[in-house]
Amino acid sequence: MKIIIDSCSVILLTKATVLEKLSGSYNILIPIEVYNEVLKGKEKMLKDALLVEKLKNENKISLINIDKKLKKKIMQDFNMGEGESSVIAGGIRNNNLVATDNRQGRKAAEINSLQLIGSIEIVVNLFRKRKIDYEKAYQSLKLLKEEGWFDNNLIEKAMEDIENDRS
């Protein structure tokens, strides 16, 4: 099973400082459209852009092409950009796990009955698999909380879960 991941989650996982660990632990697929969207930040020296480029050059993430016809339909149906729609199309075509943290992406994934995950679950799972230690998992969740992207209750639940799984 592979994880296909969108720009929003790539950015959040970079901010949480676990994208590199994730790419070394699981098979990560990034559609070319997502790669291009993230790389736009390179001009402004954004960390997510620089890290994704590095991971691609080290072959730690796989760039994939997506069925253009299906992608276009999803773009129109959900008013999505090329990156987000290619992730949903990739989930539909290949039954990959779909990682997205943005509202429209999650809505489209649910409507298409895709296997949906988010960045918070990824951090908790990395800890449960002992790919990262407790301190790292806690710090990552704290960084996600500071970003203000998620409901605080969700982050606190994840913090509680890693605390319970600590021993």
């Binding site: 987000e84 809505k107 698999k129």
Partner: protein, 109 residues
């Protein structure tokens, strides 16, 4: 060279003052000050419009970024500044964890 055209517009005194103040503060002429304010205003106008559209489920974050001509990372910051949160619920979080446990933990990666 970019082609320029004349545009006549009636502006209230307080708006003219904005242009004049900007010109003085930035040591530029009033035409340059007006252009800068229009460009900046248009950018903020688009950001506000697409942050609202994203919040209301009318577009994805990358679409919003594309329309505002900013990066996805910058668009996410704009949405966060407006207090817009992910729609993920505790139940979805639990389902996601269960899915990862079932699928990835039993595979060889």
């Amino acid at each position: 060279m970019t082609e320029v055209e004349f545009l006549g517009a009636r502006l209230e005194r307080d708006i003219l003052t904005m242009v004049e103040d900007t010109a003085k503060e930035e040591h530029v002429d009033k035409t340059k000050a007006l252009k800068d304010l229009i460009i900046l205003g248009r950018k903020q106008f688009l950001i506000k419009k697409y942050v609202n559209l994203y919040r209301d489920g009318g577009c994805s974050i990358d679409k919003a970024a594309e329309r505002c001509k900013i990066t996805v990372s910058e668009m996410m910051k704009e949405a966060s500044k407006e207090g817009i949160k992910s729609s993920e619920t505790i139940e979805e979080y639990r389902n996601g964890l269960e899915l990862l446990k079932r699928t990835l933990n039993n595979s060889a990666f």
